[in-house]
């Protein structure tokens, strides 16, 4: 196992820049997720680490050694592909054994007829079979060794692909949306298995996904990417609680964060739809601001920060509901609120409230700015209102 270092990685396809000056340090044994909308450059970055694509600028090192001049297999990394990329004409056993036969047998010993002439081959193949068996037992796939990938279910194929990656004890695992072809239930299951596998192997893993739930649940750290740049790098809690930009705030969290246009009022306090909020802004570059409030931080009732909305529809998720509102002052702004089922569903015009400390304030460039909320005792207010 080894850590990875990326320095100043840049890549352009024709006139489009897909990666701009990416710097990233991935620690030994870390599970790092590259997450972002499709086309943000995350897969390209992974392919550059793997050596399947060459960067225009910058360098990649694995375990402290520069690998820029190396072919993919010389980098001693393993990759799990979105479509698994199993060899359809080979048995499960042969699929998993392939990386070992490739490195341990000479070209001569791999040729269709010539291979029977080698005396050494048999011994090497026995050794390989033993190692394949060890990996297969870990993944519980030894029962279908002789089947072909076409005869396996999606989850089983996924395991075989993992086995092929694990068998060579790579320096790092690279995974390109490995769960996106599975159905929802299996995806949740495999998420758990991958997390456990990571804990057991202690392996460095770089994981690419567009699914923010996978990113949040599995990673030690995640890098949110868009337009070929890393917008924010941090632990899942950091990224959720302190999103660095509007784009990050919108991407992480489901349902998506509510965004309201606001401005800095005369006294340095935020004005939202004509009301002054008890939040001081000192370092805004321009008076125009955007306020983000997560749907789970919204509640029905009064408080220091309120907005007036009209209910459009309700999504029942079983244990909770997501209420879709329109802002009365400007109906084109949607407002989402997450409530526990059992709470009464309001009708007509409703006042929604949130705490000043739940506000994410962004400047006119979409960057987060630190603010100071005046009401420190807001938690008690919330409790009181919930009781009411």
């Amino acid at each position: 196992m080894a850590g990875l270092t990326l320095r100043g990685i840049g890549k352009t396809f024709g006139d489009t820049a897909v990666l701009n000056n990416i710097d990233l340090d991935i620690a030994d044994g870390e599970f790092l997720t590259l997450v972002g909308p499709s086309g943000c450059g995350k897969s390209t970055l992974l392919r550059i680490i793997a050596g399947l694509e060459s960067q225009d600028r910058g360098s990649v090192s694995i375990g402290g050694t520069s690998v820029d001049h190396m072919r993919p297999h010389e980098r001693r990394i393993a990759m799990v592909f979105q479509n698994y990329a199993l060899y359809p004409h080979m048995s499960v056993f042969d699929n998993i054994a392939l990386p070992l036969t490739m490195t341990r047998l000479s070209l001569f010993e791999r040729l269709p007829l010539m291979r029977h002439l080698s005396l050494r081959r048999r011994r090497v193949m026995d050794e390989i079979a033993r190692e394949v068996r060890v990996v297969a037992e870990q993944l519980r796939i030894e029962t279908f060794f002789h089947r072909r990938p076409g005869q396996l279910s999606g989850g089983q194929r996924q395991r075989v692909a993992l086995g092929r990656a694990m068998v060579r004890h790579p320096q790092a695992f690279l995974m390109d949306e490995p769960l996106s072809n599975l159905d929802a239930k299996l995806r949740v299951h495999m998420r758990g298995e991958l997390t456990e596998l990571h804990a057991r192997l202690g392996a460095t893993m770089v994981y690419v996904t567009h699914d923010q739930i996978e990113a949040m649940t599995m990673s030690d750290r995640l890098a949110v990417m868009d337009h070929g740049e890393i917008l924010q790098l941090g632990t899942p809690a950091d990224v959720y609680e302190l999103p660095a930009t509007i784009a990050v705030a919108q991407f992480i969290g489901s349902p998506a964060i509510n965004l309201f246009p606001a401005r800095v009022g005369s006294g340095g306090q935020i004005e939202l739809l004509g009301r002054t909020l008890p939040i001081d802004v000192r370092n805004a570059p321009a008076p125009e601001l955007t306020i983000g409030v997560r749907p789970e931080a919204m509640r029905i009732g009064g408080g220091p920060c309120t907005i007036t909305c009209r209910l459009r529809r309700r999504e029942n998720l079983g244990s909770e509901s997501i209420l879709h509102f329109d802002l009365v002052a400007s109906p084109e702004v949607p407002v989402l609120c997450r409530i526990d089922n059992g709470m009464p569903i309001p009708e007509g015009e409703v006042t929604l409230a949130f705490e000043p400390r739940d506000c994410h304030v962004f400047d006119n460039n979409g960057r987060r700015i630190e603010v100071e909320s005046r009401n420190a005792a807001s938690r008690d207010v919330r409790r009181a209102s919930e009781v009411r």
């Binding site: 793997a50 050596g51 399947l52 072919r71 993919p72 297999h73 990394i77 393993a78 990759m79 592909f81 979105q82 479509n83 990329a85 199993l86 060899y87 359809p88 004409h89 080979m90 392939l98 990386p99 490739m102 490195t103 070209l107 791999r110 040729l111 269709p112 072909r148 092929r164």
Partner: protein
């Protein structure tokens, strides 16, 4: 009251489910009938007529005929011309099938990865397919001319002896086979190109990461197995096309020199349309059909087991 009615008119009382099934079965037959009739008229009836003719002594233009049983088949077995034709045809097929398949595979692999020039090469290799072989045979006749021909000129300038490609008995079938391959490569290449485009790119990437970066490994581990179905199709169609060798023989050699290029289809043509032995020609046609059928079935079964879909 209802039981009485049922006894009087049993048809109406038939359970609706079974009646429904009858109607569906009739409708199904009705839908299948046009295709079946067409198949009988165009394929099966001529085949039956052919089989019928082969048991007679009918000659084109004759007013009557009689049954002769298996006499025609006996004659065919004894006929030195037919024996020669079968051997020549088999030799021709033995050269054209491997040559036509492997060369077109090689060409397809070579031009598959080209970006700007791929279309150009495709057109060049496909040209022989679009041109009629009868017309092209004239060109080959000139190219292969013992003294004036381009090929002999080239051989001479390279220091080799000149060769009479079409009049030397040992050379004539290989020469015709070379022309046959030349005509087939473009078509097979297009099929292989389609097969190559269908191979997912991530398989090559996976094999690259797994350590098979040598071109031979990439070919053996990915390209060749993934082209299995295409190769099988190409081999069978090439085989059938090669078995039907006729036009170059008819135009360029007329079976000569001294019967060295007599082939099965040309023999059938001579018997049927030159000597008017219709019944004998029909017998030979049946033999020809049997050959193609047996070989195609054999190939399909043998290859099918080794091909992954």
């Amino acid at each position: 009251m209802t039981t009485v009615a049922a006894q009087i008119t049993p048809l109406d009382a038939a359970p609706p489910a079974s009646r429904q099934r009858w109607i569906e079965r009739l409708a199904g037959l009705g839908f299948a009938a046009p295709a079946f009739i067409l198949l009988v008229l165009t394929n099966l009836a001529p085949l039956a007529a052919l089989a019928f003719l082969s048991f007679t002594n009918y000659e084109l233009g004759a007013l009557d005929f009689s049954f002769v049983g298996l006499k025609n088949f006996g004659t065919a077995l004894q006929d030195p011309v037919i024996r020669r034709s079968v051997t020549n045809t088999l030799l021709y097929v033995a050269i054209v099938v491997p040559g036509g398949v492997l060369i077109s595979l090689l060409v397809a692999i070579l031009i598959h990865r080209r970006k700007r020039t791929r279309a150009l090469y495709e057109v060049i290799y496909f040209l022989p397919v679009t041109s009629t072989l009868i017309a092209m045979a004239t060109m080959w006749q000139f190219m292969l001319h013992p003294t004036l021909g381009l090929i002999n000129q080239a051989l001479k300038s390279l220091g080799f002896a000149e060769a009479a490609f079409l009049s030397e008995p040992r050379l004539v079938i290989p020469t015709l086979a070379a022309i046959g391959i030349w005509q087939l490569v473009g078509f097979n290449m297009v099929l292989f190109l389609a097969g190559l485009s269908a191979i997912p790119r991530d398989l090559y990437e996976a094999v690259d990461i797994d350590g098979a970066s040598h071109p031979i490994d990439r070919f053996l581990k990915v390209t060749w197995p993934m082209l299995g179905p295409t190769t099988m199709f190409v081999t069978v169609t090439t085989f059938i096309t090669a078995f039907k060798i006729f036009d170059t023989v008819a135009v360029m050699t007329r079976g000569g020199p001294g019967g060295a290029s007599e082939v099965l289809l040309y023999a059938i043509y001579l018997e049927g349309f030159q000597y008017f032995h219709m019944s004998y020609a029909a017998t030979l046609t049946l033999v020809f059909l049997a050959f193609t059928l047996v070989f195609s079935v054999l190939q399909t079964f043998i290859l099918d087991r080794r091909v992954h879909y």
